[in-house]
Symmetry: C2
Subunit: 433 residues, 2 copies
């Protein structure tokens, strides 16, 4: 039996007769030759069927193949420097698994976004989506690898929760047996804080839900987020850690996925500059910069998407904006001892106009102050009973952050819209497929 | 400034003065000496405060420390073969972060499960939970590592879905904007099948939801599951892959977490036997075995938890039971060509009575047969439009499986109940903390 080999491994089989199992995504033909473009999920290769070197039956089979036919093809691998893939196959035999029973709906012509999203289950087969998903795979692998290197413990936080994290934006709720409503987590932070008091340095990486009616290119209703929480970390320690994390991820992606990035025409040069330390700018400085750039903004206003773009385009690395006014940030952030009107926090804004990829802060560790702030924000103190409890039994200063995985993917791949950064995007208009 | 060192790294600092930042979880005292048991989330160490070698103030501080006090302690590291931790610290200085403002509720005496689960945010600090969570961390790391080695692509499947996977058991639903009901995914399998046609070999690892009213020691309403899907894999290929995966994970856990397993008195010998190949037994053979063991079961019945225990206790490795009757398995499973009354599938049962950890099958790839089975199971064909679509555009034989992470953790750690295998368990009676 001929050996089944994945296309990514054909370089190890030059001169050998092997079998490729995959799909034909394109074909060019003349009277005497068929050029079959094959993919198998690991790569692409051209398989050549010459009338003079196969049985007539095989040549006719090649003629009958239509786009997305599934085939098992035997042939001999040959290096070919002219081929974009570096190797070609001289076909000896073709076994058809299926010739599609309907015309493949996705062609090379421009389709509307809605059409492509409706056919997402097929659109995934397109080259650009292939390269994005392989890059996403390497990004998440690098994130997890970094936490392993730094000896963090994975703590998967619950999705179904009674108490609500940030209480900002809207949340999805469900009926939970006889216990009333449960909510889909907007963050695992509160749980990670509990775990950090047990395990020191902890992280999660899981799906997160926001029922916001945002329709921007930066928002999904379901997205993946990495959060980390570190006992005894100050806000400065936190910023240093974030720099290291993002630098590591970009470095590893450049090592392992630059072929994929180049295949989608991503210029690598801006990514090569992403090395710690990153520029830092206080909120005060950011407001002055934005005012100088004619943004209509004053001290105390939140920094929105357009403003983030305005700041980040001044730098060729991610920039960290720190110490925002307390009134525009979450209740749990630690006040700056030198200026209680601001809190010890930072956002990290990605360059090239991508804006916020990380939101971070030192957390309040004093139980009385925490309760005071919960009340000030009109949140129900009783929902935070166990969270407050953490501050009663050996509370310590601690810091953490959340990093949006799809925003990271969108920036690294330089995508126009975040919907291509996740296998099956969920937006306010889309739950299908 | 004295260097902050994690307890796991003290071996590199013997003879040096360092600082440990953590919590005091226990204390023994005499008139002249305090033995402080410290933890910092990375390990445990005894810090010794001798009246004769510190200022009186420091000695008094040590005297005042209560369980779970948070402290930053300076001292000199010394190797001590008599100590269970191998090293001790001779204390020079103590900075108290907080002496708990309430008595720590978890003592050494036996608490009821409900009390411990209500205090899960603190219970995580207990030694057994520490060791379980660190083992869980290594288990998940090894699972992901194996997929990377095998060049699988991570495809995170959506939690919010329109169509429903298995339709078995009950599902949680939410109102999704103007689109009606959405469901929390019971499986990502259907999405992975789409992705396998694009990327060949894919996997996910994420939270999964079952609104079943099961109250067994094997059930959670929210649990983590790893699923994989492989294009062009037969049911036999699938079983071989599962064997390799589970063998790899157990091997890596033994390499990296055996200290944690031994600390919770897990006998390592049974785990050391977990090496591929695993015994295989057809459903027919399993029924005969159970009948011989006096179970009240006949051909066509499902194999429940007690029966799984009955089978798995016959083997000292995981056992794979294959080819169940079609009527007790899901609609999408491929019939056995040699006997259409059974389907090409397998469950993997963990030894030592733990039962099912994997459910697997070859999937139907013929579009007509798939539609026929959907109707036979009284499922709405229109909900499966895109899933059927996959069979029209280059369908291929393919196989996959789902592995319950907490069941894997419970078995490897030999836990009595699955609720300790996840940081914050969700059961039908518990959504808090």
């Amino acid at each position: 039996m001929t050996q089944w080999v994945y296309i990514e491994d054909v370089a190890d089989h030059v001169g050998e007769k092997i079998e490729i199992r995959g799909w034909m995504f394109n074909k060019r033909s003349s009277g005497k030759i068929h050029f079959l473009q094959l993919r198998d999920g690991t790569g692409f290769i051209q398989a050549i069927v010459e009338k003079s070197s196969v049985d007539e039956e095989i040549f006719q089979i090649a003629a009958s193949l239509r786009i997305e036919s599934s085939v098992m093809i035997e042939g001999i691998i040959r290096e070919d420097k002219r081929s974009p893939y570096g190797y070609e196959m001289d076909v000896k035999n073709i076994e058809v698994v299926q010739i599609p029973i309907e015309d493949y709906p996705i062609s090379k012509k421009d389709h509307g976004v809605d059409f492509l999203m409706t056919n997402r289950h097929l659109w995934l087969r397109s080259k650009k989506q292939f390269h994005i998903l392989l890059t996403r795979n390497e990004i998440i692998r690098a994130v997890r690898e970094f936490y392993n290197l730094k000896k963090f413990v994975l703590v998967d936080t619950p999705i179904l929760t009674g108490s609500i994290g940030e209480c900002s934006g809207e949340v999805f709720d469900i009926e939970y047996f006889d216990l009333g409503k449960a909510y889909l987590a907007q963050t695992g932070q509160l749980y990670l804080e509990a775990a950090a008091m047990a395990l020191g340095k902890v992280f999660n990486l899981g799906p997160t839900f926001r029922a916001e009616k945002s329709k921007t290119r930066r928002h999904l209703t379901e997205f993946w987020m990495n959060e980390a929480e570190m006992a005894y970390y100050s806000s400065d320690d936190n910023m240093e850690f974030q720099e290291e994390l993002v630098s590591y991820v970009v470095k590893k992606v450049l090592e392992r996925a630059s072929d994929h990035l180049m295949a989608i025409d991503r210029d690598l040069k801006p990514l090569e500059k992403v090395k710690a330390p990153f520029p830092r700018m206080s909120y005060d400085e950011a407001i002055k910069l934005l005012q100088k750039k004619d943004f209509d903004i004053k001290w105390g206003d939140d920094i929105g998407g357009d403003e983030e773009t305005g700041i980040s385009e001044e730098f060729d690395k991610p920039v960290m904006v720190y110490n925002y006014p307390r009134n525009i940030k979450a209740f749990y952030m630690q006040p700056d001892p030198s200026n209680p009107e601001v809190v010890l926090c930072n956002d990290m804004l990605a360059p090239e106009g991508y804006g916020e990829i990380i939101g971070a802060s030192q957390r309040i560790h004093d139980p009385d102050l925490l309760v005071e702030r919960i009340k000030e924000f009109n949140l129900p103190v009783e929902s935070y009973d166990w969270y407050i409890d953490l501050r009663k039994h050996g509370t310590v200063p601690h810091s953490g952050f959340g990093m949006g995985i799809e925003r990271l993917v969108a920036w690294i791949c330089k995508l126009d819209h975040i919907r291509e950064a996740i296998p099956f995007a969920r937006t306010i208009y889309r739950i299908h497929p």
